[in-house]
């Protein structure tokens, strides 16, 4: 793989947007930076002959997941990243050092990778090539089914998490009395916790 102008540009954009994601103070800006990052990654995928995956990346990852993030940010009005007291002030240095160390180690690791000679063609990563793999009962079919089921479960879980009372009420039956839901812990308890936390 030769390193041309576009590769270097793509790399710079990737690192730049990555840093933006982790450093920007406005959450919405950070999410948008992440979208940009994902789009560039999709481009990289195309260059790496994984076109189907690239499409999925754009549609699902950038287009659904991060958008969901944006919805939640707006719902909670949590646009400001500086929330509450920073209880671990020196963690920033540890994180930086750790990240640098990790980067160094991983880079070293990947540069030691020897790709095998004589690689077969990937067929561009098109659905026609992936399909047989995905739907083959001896390969990934069952995994695919399980992931589908997982998505269903996640959806249900998300709903239940938001409004447990309505769900419980909707599923109750006079013949099977359910245990009382515990009410929200009163405000006083929250105050105690904050007092405790200051230890």
């Amino acid at each position: 793989m030769s390193i041309g102008f576009w590769e270097v540009l793509a790399l710079l954009v990737l690192v730049g947007t990555g840093l933006a994601v982790v450093r920007l103070q406005n959450a919405v800006h950070a999410a948008l930076a992440l979208i940009a990052n994902f789009l560039v990654v999709a481009g990289v995928y195309v260059a790496l002959e994984a076109r189907f995956v690239a499409m999925i990346q754009i549609i699902v990852y950038a287009g659904a997941i991060v958008v969901l993030f944006l919805f939640v940010i707006m719902l909670l009005s949590a646009a400001n990243a500086n929330v509450g007291q920073d209880l671990l002030p020196r963690l920033g240095w540890v994180a930086a050092l750790g990240a640098l160390g990790l980067a160094g180690v991983l880079t070293y690791a990947v540069t030691r990778f020897q790709p095998p000679a004589g690689t077969p063609a990937l067929g561009g990563g098109l659905p026609q090539a992936l399909g047989p793999l995905l739907y083959d009962p001896e390969k990934w079919l069952y995994a695919l089914l399980v992931v589908g089921f997982l998505l269903l479960v996640a959806t249900v879980a998300a709903v239940v998490l938001i409004e447990p009372e309505r769900i419980v009420a909707a599923t109750s039956h006079p013949a099977h009395p359910q245990q009382e839901q515990k009410p929200n812990p009163p405000r006083a308890e929250q105050k105690d916790e904050r007092a405790v936390v200051k230890r």
């Binding site: 990737l14 690192v15 990555g18 994601v21 982790v22 959450a27 950070a30 992440l34 990052n37 990654v41 990289v44 790496l48 994984a50 189907f52 995956v53 699902v60 990852y61 997941i65 969901l68 993030f69 939640v72 940010i73 719902l75 909670l76 949590a78 990243a81 500086n82 929330v83 509450g84 007291q85 920073d86 209880l87 994180a95 750790g98 990240a99 990790l102 880079t107 690791a109 990947v110 540069t111 790709p115 095998p116 990563g125 090539a129 995905l134 390969k139 990934w140 992931v147 997982l150 998505l151 996640a154 959806t155 879980a157 998300a158 998490l161 938001i162 812990p185 929250q190 904050r194 936390v197």
Partner: protein, 96 residues
């Protein structure tokens, strides 16, 4: 190759973000960055070794990431409702 290095860098940046961000949502965002970096490395390996299986795995990664984000954000919203704050440092009840 270079995209492997890129994925390593992105992963580290994501790790830095996961530690540094104090809001639950932004911490989660950094984790998504890390996940993406892993997917990128898989695609690179797919290209390097000529194996399509890696791409299948990346598809799964994306699907699972979607599920995970749904549940995770649901949790964050539920917590926010109880505590009126998204600060991660406030969530210390599992100390032990």
């Amino acid at each position: 190759m270079i995209w492997l290095v890129a994925s390593a860098l992105l992963f580290s940046i994501g790790a830095y973000g996961a530690l540094t961000r104090r809001t639950a949502i932004l911490m989660f965002l950094s984790i998504e960055l890390m996940l993406n970096a892993a997917a990128l490395s898989l695609i690179s390996f797919s290209k390097l070794t000529g194996s399509l299986e890696a791409q299948v795995v990346v598809l799964f990664i994306i699907a699972i990431a979607a599920a995970e984000v749904a549940v995770g954000l649901g949790l964050i919203v539920a917590i926010f409702r109880r505590r009126e704050t998204t600060s991660v440092d406030e969530l210390r009840q599992l100390r032990g």
